[in-house]
């Protein structure tokens, strides 16, 4: 049979309209299909240095993310990072990294479809997150570049602070929880609809 060009479906595709209609002060947009690789390597090891050379970044330390480059590096644990790159980079990156690591001990796993990324921005984002997240988002405590694995409501999320005082954040959420999280977010925003919602 003939096979048409496949159409991919991101976990929040069906939520596009709802997310576009949040109250002023909260803009939400799914960043679908980002390349995501789990990197496990001992920091400071030869393998880590090889990875850093390929990515041209220093692997960020605890609870922080290196967000400046094309391949963003999110600290997930003492020997774990999530590499986030534009759509379609997984095969190429995986091959490059594995080849750079060679016989050293480090592993790279493609987890691109494991999570989706929700970009939130606006002056109300910090308050909306406070409705379900126990992290202190005060800029003195959680500055730009912070990266935390936490709970938002009852969903595990990776939270990356991209703008001062959480005015711009990424939420990486497991695909199966994305719909729950969107439901929660839209409901949380009811508060700011001034009675029209």
């Amino acid at each position: 049979m003939t096979v048409e060009t496949p159409t991919r479906f991101s976990p929040l595709a069906a939520w596009q309209d709802d997310l576009a209609q949040l109250p002023t002060g909260v803009q939400a947009r799914e960043l679908p299909f980002l390349t995501q690789l789990t990197l496990r390597v001992q920091p400071g090891s030869t393998a880590a240095k090889a990875v850093e050379a390929v990515l041209d970044v220093t692997l960020p330390g605890p609870v922080s993310a290196e967000m400046s480059g094309d391949v963003k590096v999110l600290w997930m644990g003492p020997d774990e990072w999530l590499l986030v790159a534009p759509d379609g980079r997984q095969d190429d990156l995986l091959a490059q990294l594995r080849s750079a690591v060679g016989d050293e001990f480090a592993t790279v796993t493609d987890v691109s479809a494991q999570r989706t990324t929700l970009a939130l921005s606006g002056h109300l984002v910090r308050t909306v997150l406070a409705q379900g997240c126990a992290i202190d988002l005060d800029p003195r405590v959680t500055p730009v570049g912070s990266c935390l694995n936490t709970l938002l409501a009852q969903a595990p999320v990776t939270l990356v602070v991209r703008g001062e005082a959480a005015s711009d954040v990424w939420l990486l959420v497991r695909s199966s929880f994305a719909s729950y999280l969107a439901t929660w977010l839209v409901d949380a925003c009811t508060e700011y609809r001034g009675g029209t919602g």
């Binding site: 719909s179 409901d187 949380a188």
Partner: protein
């Protein structure tokens, strides 16, 4: 309509606005700023409810959260039970009635919103009275992040209920200036109508904010009605004030009997005169300002009954100026009245003996037995208490370094002292935070009258015969008497905790704020011990009643528990699937066609899988990527069978056991590359298995060079099942050689399926020829649609978990957690073949040699065929040996673990764990069912295609 008991010129109510409300069916009016209780008192209504046990009329004892009596049910706008009338803000249209101890929940759903908010601060101050305000101001000026919570609608605390002056002006003007300054600080948040109710570990304090309750029907629907604040504070100052304590005397429960300080609050905060002619019964100085202010507002003070022999000159002079008689060395021994107090009985009281009684007419009897610091939250924070014999109260003793009290919560009862103490508490908190605060210039309070210590008096001897205290109430809400306390001590109880449970004192909504310390005092007297040694009742969260709705917040309805869905979920929903909850996942259960019952649908789906082709969404299976040079070593230690010998491109089934040798999970393992495996777990166990593996790896074998990565949700997994599955696959994966030799059972291939790079495994959970197609989740729907379209000519049938269960049960593939319960070994499941004899060790190995695990009469998995092939045994049914049920105890041989109707067998069947099951094959056993027994034949568990002839198509 005017309120007959309002005092002109007093109160913080808005007299220009009139609110209408209904109480016990009668219409009244009040004003913004009133509570329900103050509005009732302004209308001369004291009788709020009858008591729960004795049906005695009860009124308003207090003006705040300590109120034990005035419990009401709100009927409109939305029914809500068990609220204290003293804390319900009045609004237009309020319809309430008094409650005798028990309320009624609404039978209709509450449409109001409730929410949660997390907050963080350097310093949390609880209470916006004088101490709380200076503490907050001091910390704010030092640049700290401060949150101030206060239960009242406006700040000021006790200052709202007094006529105190600060810097020669009404104290509320100073309050206004402080709050204005706080409001201008970016790092300070002041929350009114917010009650801290629980202090938990690591400085977590929960507070309930009532946001729109006071708006009644006008509350906007989009704003949460109540909100739980989850405040994480580095330092906490409890400036929670103190509660006045009554004294027990005969008939001390009549409406019109009120705490003296509360009467003062009603006058000054609400502009209410709680009566016309008052008797004031006191053991300490604090009742004098109440007496004087009420006298100046027009209440006739018939007498001050003073338990002490001496009264400070200042107060005596002030009373003399107003013609108020003070009877020193006197007590109130009892009262008269029907619906309301009409007379106080007064007698001299010296050396424990009462003198001659005299009646004094009154419609208001004010009582002050001293003040108890409000230490509930401090105590919850693991602050210890000590008894201060001078004030007859428990005060803070030692506290964790992050918690302190300020003001009267710490036993400081003068205004000047409270103001200073607040600043000091803030300074100490700031030092603990490594900051320095500047000294506040405190407002001047004017000269302090020379005071005298109070007298500690728990109860007045009863003038009645017997002295048993059977007319002296301790806990008014619970109708518990002094005689109940004495009965408890008489029964041998020595601890106030035991007395509390024996008498129920302190267990009502008010947590014994007016009765707890009094109980300690009475118990101590009865036992002849020191109150200090006896202690007081433990104070636990929540400190005030909190509605479950508020605690639930928005975690209700569709947000109650996260609903996890696969990438194919909307297809299932659009095609009529009914869903089964598996953990948090929604999995398609079955897909009924119009008019079809569940039984019919499942039989149809089973038939398709066995005779044609069928497909299901298996994406929820847990998937763990295992990578590294020692991956094979790790898996050999975790699984009972050998994994390191698996060849790249091949698949093996494996079982994991606990250290006790009991099966904990099973699944398939594929070798992706020399140093990379991918294993699957059961849906519900995915997280548990990963944690299990990580625990061993991190704590026992950190030397192994292996990394584990959950990839469950990266993949959509589609089992394509049935004799025609190869035909369908050929259409969507034309480049894949799916011939048995090229692609044998228990192997996997990379292939392009519907244009998508996929990993296809030849594994089968049904015994049929089957392929499991794995693609990145966002491509799942493309592949699913392509399979569905390609399979159309073959009658491809989507099936759900129920059919999956039937198909696997026909083949005796166990479901861990359904056919096992943590006491079942692989051998019990008839799978000795999965337990390696060669491996030197693996988790569970040593336990298999235990005598208990070697016994022949262990429960083993068998098949059961009911003699009547239409009878469907209930899962969980017990199995016995005889056709009639013998006398108990009935020897139970085992139970049914799985039971279905089979299309392939054209009959019902079951799996069961049966004692000595494998030896019983061929025997007839019995299942008690609906008062009879059903005969069943024990069979080999594999009931369909024993030879395995179908797996290659």
């Amino acid at each position: 309509m005017t309120n007959p008991f309002r005092a002109g010129g007093h109160g913080r109510i808005d007299r220009d606005t009139t609110l209408s409300f209904t109480f016990d069916g009668t219409a009244y009016t009040g004003h913004p700023g009133d509570t329900l209780a103050s509005a009732l008192l302004a209308n001369g209504v004291h009788h709020v409810a009858d008591s729960i046990k004795y049906g005695r009329p009860r009124g308003v004892l207090a003006a705040g959260a300590e109120e034990p009596n005035a419990v009401v049910q709100i009927e409109a706008p939305f029914p809500e039970p068990m609220l204290t009338g003293t804390t319900v803000e009045l609004y237009d249209g309020l319809d309430a009635r008094g409650l005798s101890g028990q309320g009624r929940l609404s039978s209709r759903p509450d449409t109001a919103r409730y929410d949660t908010l997390h907050a963080h601060c350097d310093l949390l101050v609880v209470g916006a009275g004088p101490a709380g305000l200076t503490a907050t101001l001091s910390a704010a000026r030092a640049g700290a992040r401060v949150i101030l919570v206060d239960e009242l609608p406006e700040p000021g605390g006790s200052l709202l209920g007094s006529q105190e002056l600060l810097d020669g002006r009404p104290a509320t003007e100073w309050v206004g200036e402080v709050v204005a300054e706080l409001d201008a600080c970016a790092d300070v948040q002041v929350l009114q109508r917010t009650t801290a109710f629980g202090h938990y570990d690591d400085g977590l304090v929960l507070a309930l904010e009532k946001r729109t309750d006071h708006l009644g029907a006008a509350a906007p629907a989009h704003v949460s009605r109540q909100r739980i604040w989850r405040i994480r504070a580095r330092q906490v100052v409890y400036a929670t004030g103190a509660y006045e304590r009554p004294v027990a005397f005969d008939d001390n429960d009549r409406p019109g009997i009120m705490l003296a300080g509360s009467a003062r609050t009603y006058l000054n905060r609400f502009g209410v005169l709680p009566g016309r002619q008052a008797v004031v019964f006191t053991t300490n100085d604090s009742a004098y300002p109440a007496a004087l202010e009420l006298a100046d507002a027009g209440v006739r003070i018939a007498a001050v009954v003073e338990a002490r022999e001496e009264v400070p000159a200042h107060w005596r002079t002030a009373c003399d100026e107003r013609g108020i008689e003070i009877r020193t060395g006197h007590v109130v021994t009892g009262t008269s009245g029907v619906e309301h107090v009409s007379r106080a009985h007064v007698a001299p009281f010296s050396r424990g003996r009462l003198g001659e009684r005299q009646g004094i007419d009154c419609d208001l009897l004010l009582v002050s037995g001293g003040w108890n610091p409000a230490v509930a939250l401090f105590s919850q924070a693991r602050g210890t208490l000590r008894y201060d014999a001078g004030i007859g109260a428990f005060v803070p003793a030692q506290a964790p370094g992050s918690v302190r009290t300020a003001g009267s919560a710490g036993g400081t009862f003068t205004l000047a002292g409270c103001l200073a103490d607040g600043g000091d508490a803030a300074s100490r908190a700031l030092s603990a935070l490594g900051r320095t605060g500047r000294t506040l210039t405190l407002p001047s309070t004017g000269p302090l009258p020379q005071g005298a210590p109070g007298r500690v008096l728990w109860r007045v001897p009863s003038p009645r015969d017997g002295q048993d205290g059977s007319h002296q109430f301790v806990d008014l809400q619970r109708d518990a008497l002094v005689s109940d306390v004495l009965r408890a001590t008489g029964a041998g109880l020595r601890s106030v905790e035991h007395v509390k449970r024996y008498t129920t004192i302190g267990t009502a909504h008010d947590q014994g704020r007016t009765s707890g310390v009094m109980t300690s005092g009475i118990v101590a007297e009865a036992l002849g011990v020191d109150v200090a040694d006896l202690g007081t009742m433990r104070l636990r969260p929540p400190a005030v009643p909190v509605a479950f709705a508020a605690l639930a917040g928005r975690n209700r309805g569709e947000l109650f528990d996260p609903v996890r869905v696969t990438a194919l979920h909307s297809w299932h929903a659009e095609h009529g699937a009914l869903f089964e909850d598996v953990g948090q996942w929604k999995r398609p259960w079955y897909y009924p066609q119009p008019g079809e019952s569940m039984e019919e649908a499942v039989l149809r789906e089973c038939r398709a899988a066995r005779t044609g082709v069928a497909m299901m969404d298996g994406s929820t299976l847990g998937k763990i990527n295992v990578q590294g040079p020692d991956a094979g070593v790790l898996l050999d230690r975790l699984y009972t069978n050998m994994m390191s010998t698996l060849k790249v491109g091949r698949v093996r089934y494996g079982v994991m056991c606990g250290v006790d040798g009991m099966a904990i999970d099973d699944g398939t393992v594929i070798r992706v590359a020399e140093q990379e495996f991918l294993l699957t777990t059961t849906t519900g166990n995915a997280a548990k298995v990963l944690e299990w593996m990580e625990e061993w790896l991190q704590t026992e074998w950190p030397d192994l060079r292996v990394h584990l990565t959950s990839v469950t949700e990266h993949w959509v997994t589609i089992p394509l099942v049935g004799p025609r599955s190869r035909d369908v696959l050929a259409l969507v994966a034309p480049d894949l050689d799916a011939d048995n030799d090229a692609f044998p059972f228990m192997s996997w291939r990379d292939a392009t399926v519907a244009g998508i790079p996929a990993r296809v495994c030849r594994i089968s959970f049904s015994g049929e020829l089957a392929y499991e197609i794995n693609v990145p989740a966002w491509d799942g729907i493309t592949v699913w649609n392509a399979l569905y379209a390609a399979g159309g000519p073959f009658g491809i049938t989507p099936y759900g978990t129920e059919t999956m269960h039937v198909l696997r049960a026909e083949k005796a593939y166990p479901i861990i957690g359904q056919d096992t319960d943590g006491t079942v070994t692989p051998q019990d499941l008839g799978m000795s073949w999965v337990v390696s004899k060669k491996k030197p060790d693996f988790i569970g190995k040593r336990s298999f040699s235990r005598e208990e695990n070697q016994r022949g009469d262990r429960k083993q998995l068998v098949g059961l065929l009911p003699a009547d092939e239409r009878v469907l045994l209930p899962e969980g049914a017990q199995i016995i040996a005889t056709s009639s049920i013998p006398q108990p105890p009935v020897p139970m041989l085992g139970h049914v673990t799985s039971s279905y109707r089979s299309d392939a067998l054209q009959r019902t069947f079951a799996l069961a764990l049966v004692r000595s099951g494998s030896e019983r094959i061929g025997e007839t056993l019995y299942v008690p069912l609906d008062g009879r027994t059903v005969p069943v034949t024990v069979t080999d568990p594999v009931l369909f295609d024993k030879e395995g002839s179908r797996r290659d198509g």
